[in-house]
Every structure is written in structure tokens, then in C-alpha cells.
């Protein structure tokens, strides 16, 4: 699901408010991103939680 993606928290006012998923670049230099809310009804967030349960780690925000 997140093969070769960078998955990182995004902070606002020093609080994690969403997760940015950065996909590998396309040939033209563009790339796909997801900005995922921390909402358990959101399927992207569910998939990230599953990805974490599989042993992966979300990077801390910059």
C-alpha cells in the first residue's frame, strides 16, 4: 500500500495535526501526496495504522 513512500507527521502550533504520505516521483518530477487527518473513520488513516501495526514507524514532524 505504501511501498517506497515517506510517511511523516505534520505539526501545527507544535501539535501533530495530520500525516503526509509522499509517494515516489514520476518521470516528470511530480509526485503524489496524501495529507491524512487523524480521523479513525478515514480509510487512509486506517491504512496507516495498519502499516504501523505491521511494524513500520511514522516519522516525526520536521
Amino acid at each position: 500500500m505504501f511501498e517506497n513512500c515517506i510517511i511523516k507527521y505534520v505539526k501545527r502550533n507544535d501539535v501533530n495535526v495530520c500525516i503526509r504520505v509522499t509517494y515516489p516521483s514520476n518521470d516528470n518530477g511530480s509526485h503524489k501526496e496524501l495529507s491524512v487527518p487523524l480521523d479513525e473513520a478515514n480509510t487512509d488513516y486506517q491504512n496507516i495504522l495498519q502499516w504501523v501495526a505491521d511494524g513500520n514507524t511514522i516519522q516525526e514532524a520536521d
Binding site: 503526509r20 509526485h31 495529507s35 480509510t43
Partner: protein, 390 residues
């Protein structure tokens, strides 16, 4: 023959009104129903008319992928494909009123998938939209799944209905009898008195067309009655779409009806206007802007280097994610602040809801707090959508 009288009472009950006020049995009566229990088709975009994300994607080799809305192609380590919203110009499906189809072409073959590999087309339902099926009660209803299919392979494939709430499955097979010819398939699905669907906006049911899989989902017996999840029963007759680059498979006219029907009693496909179809798809995905110099929304400088975009959107299933294609300076703001500033990425504010969205980002430049702007795309490849898919 001139009509002298139409029996309105028959229209209200679902019986076909006929000349001079007689009665005539309908297809619904054959299924023990007075009329169709759902006002709108249970399957959204069954005619594959709406494809907000795009009509063609090449080099698809992993993940969850869309062309036509609501129909999601899941792929793991089993070849590479092109996905197309195909425009139909002839054939039996075209003659039946379908002008578009979901099509997949194999471009890199994998004739020996590993056990856990898969290529599956899925349609997913919210539980609250399926309560008319009465699953998990003594009055549980049978279902009928109908669709048009075409492939270069004249062979048999498997599908199942997967109950995510209760981990239960029921399956079926279908056969492409003649290669490269649109054929209509009608499949009866048993009722299930066990395991009710949750009455909420979560994922409850999926229809899965197994285009190719490894051995983890093969080797068993197709369950014609609902049963507890047994993975080896899910793809008993593997279509093996990925075994040759000559392969293709296409589907349209997908229809799920409450009740048991035959080819002679199946109610007609409920064609919706494009606008109605698009509006229903937008509960799950909305393409907000695509291409260069397209307006996103109003914006304002919040202070420092932070810019906020505020927008109201049609109500979605949940608070959405932002799904966008981006790169260097793909986004910009301009307006009363006097200067134009470019942006590289956008973030979803946690205060956003299913219909009120606040995107925010930071720029390299400072601005004056409170100044009004408008946000727009700044590259021909820019795409910005909101996704709340199941």
C-alpha cells in the same frame, strides 16, 4: 391502440399499468417484491460514466487504483497493467445503453504469482446503505448481481461478496463464453440470516472480481451459501489475467438488486444522469482542481509564513484526505496582498469536517496577517482532490 385509462393504483404498487386499467405482473413481483426497495441504484457509477481521477493510467504495478469512480483495482506483486475508462462504440453492451466501461490491459505478465499476490477489482458499500437487504435477520433477502463483461480470454472467473463486519463470504463463478464479445452475466446470491451489517458509514460489504491471485485464495470450493471467511474458497476458478500481455478484461453495467431474478425478470439497469451520478460519487472523492491556473478557493494570510484555504464542499463520507499531485511551485496564491507566492504542498487541518475544509501551508515568504487571497494551481500537472473512500 389508444389508451383509454391508466390504473394509477397499479403504478403505486409497482404493477405495470396497462391499457384499460388492467394489471400485469412486474419483474419485481417475480421476486416477491411489490417494487424495488431502493430508490437509487445500490451500485454507484455502475455504468462507469464518471472517472474524476482520469481516464487512463499506465504502468500500474501496485496499490489501490481508480479510473472509473467507486471501482478500485487492488494489486500486489502480480504484473503491470493499464487501466482505462473505455469509450464503447459498438457491441452488445453498447446496444444495451452503456457507453463506457472499466477496462484493464496486461502490460507486464506474471504467469506464476506467489501465494499472497493478487489483482482484484472491488466495489465497496457503506453498511447504512444496505439495510434493505435485512442481512442477519430472519427476513434476509436474496440478491442478484448483474454485469456485462468482455475479455480476450474465454474462460471462467470467480467473484465473491465479502462481509467486512462479520468476516463472511459468498461466492460465484462466471464464464466468458466467447472471446472479445460483451456478455451479460446474472448471478443469484443467497440470503444470509447471520451477521447484520452495521448501520453506519463504515465499510460493510465488498464485491470482489478476482482477476488473478496466488494460491492463498485458491484450492477450495466456491461457497454458494454464506459462510465464515475461508480464503481458499474465494477464487476457486482463477481468471489468470496476468499470465499474458495479450490479456484484457472489461466490465460495465454493474447492477445489484434486492431479490432473486432471472435474465427474463431482471429489472432494467437504473441509468442516472451524469450529474446525479457525479454527485453520488463525490461522497467518496471530489476532484477540486486539475491543470494550470485553476482556482482552488479563497485564502488568507494567517500570519508569519502561514496561508489558510477555506472551502465548503459537498458532504463527504468522513473527513477527507487531501490527495494531490504536486512538485516545485505547483500551487500559488495571489490577491489583495499585492504579491504572488508559490507553494509546494498543502496540509489538512484537523478542524476540518466532512463538508468544511481548512487547508494550510507555509511559504518561504512572510505576509500580512488578514490579507485576502485566492489560491490556484500553478502547473499543468497539478491535481487536487479530496478522498473519503471506503
Amino acid at each position: 391502440m389508444a389508451l383509454s385509462k391508466i390504473d394509477v393504483a397499479n403504478m403505486l404498487t409497482g404493477a405495470t399499468p396497462v391499457a384499460n386499467g388492467g394489471t400485469a405482473a412486474t419483474t419485481f413481483a417475480s421476486a416477491g417484491l411489490g417494487k424495488r426497495p431502493n430508490a437509487k441504484p445500490l451500485i454507484i457509477n455502475g455504468d462507469m460514466a464518471v472517472a474524476q481521477r482520469g481516464t487512463s493510467f499506465t504502468g500500474v504495478s501496485s496499490g489501490a487504483n481508480f479510473t472509473a469512480d467507486r471501482f478500485q483495482f487492488y494489486l500486489a506483486n502480480l504484473g503491470t497493467y493499464t487501466l482505462i475508462q473505455e469509450a464503447l462504440t459498438s457491441g452488445n453492451a453498447y446496444d444495451a445503453g452503456f457507453k463506457t466501461a472499466w477496462r484493464i490491459d496486461t502490460t507486464t505478465a506474471d504467469a506464476s504469482p506467489s501465494a499472497a499476490d493478487y489483482a482484484i477489482l472491488r466495489y465497496k458499500f457503506e453498511g447504512q446503505d444496505l439495510q434493505s437487504i435485512k442481512k442477519g435477520t430472519s427476513n434476509a433477502q436474496k440478491l442478484t448481481l448483474a454485469f456485462w463483461v468482455k475479455s480476450n480470454k474465454a474462460t471462467t472467473g470467480s467473484l465473491d461478496l465479502f462481509d467486512y463486519d462479520n468476516s463472511r463470504i459468498v461466492g460465484a463463478t462466471y464464464t466468458v463464453n466467447t472471446a472479445n464479445t460483451w456478455e451479460k452475466k446474472i448471478i443469484n446470491i443467497a440470503a444470509d440470516t447471520t451477521g447484520a451489517f452495521a448501520n453506519d458509514n463504515g465499510l460493510s460489504l465488498g464485491i470482489e472480481w478476482f482477476l488473478d491471485t496466488g494460491s492463498n485464495t485458491q484450492g477450495g470450493t466456491t461457497p454458494t451459501a454464506w459462510e465464515s471467511q475461508t480464503n481458499t474458497n474465494r477464487n476457486v476458478s482463477n481468471f489468470a489475467l496476468g499470465d499474458n500481455t495479450a490479456n484484457d478484461w472489461a466490465i460495465t453495467g454493474v447492477q445489484l438488486e434486492v431479490g432473486e431474478y432471472t435474465s427474463s425478470t431482471l429489472p432494467p439497469f437504473q441509468h442516472e444522469s451524469y450529474g446525479d451520478n457525479l454527485a453520488r460519487c463525490q461522497r467518496y472523492f471530489q476532484m477540486r482542481a486539475e491543470g494550470n491556473q485553476k482556482i482552488i478557493s479563497i485564502a488568507h494570510w494567517a500570519g508569519g509564513s502561514e496561508v489558510d484555504f477555506i472551502m465548503q464542499i459537498p458532504f463527504m463520507r468522513t473527513q477527507p484526505s487531501i490527495e494531490y499531485t504536486t512538485g516545485s511551485e505547483y500551487w500559488a496564491i495571489g490577491g489583495s496582498g499585492g504579491s504572488t507566492n508559490t507553494l509546494d504542498n498543502l496540509n489538512m487541518n484537523s478542524w476540518s469536517t466532512e463538508m468544511n475544509i481548512n487547508l494550510w501551508t507555509t511559504t518561504g515568504a512572510g505576509g500580512t496577517a488578514g490579507y485576502a487571497y485566492y489560491g490556484y494551481t500553478n502547473n499543468a500537472s497539478a491535481k487536487l482532490g479530496f478522498t473519503a473512500e471506503l
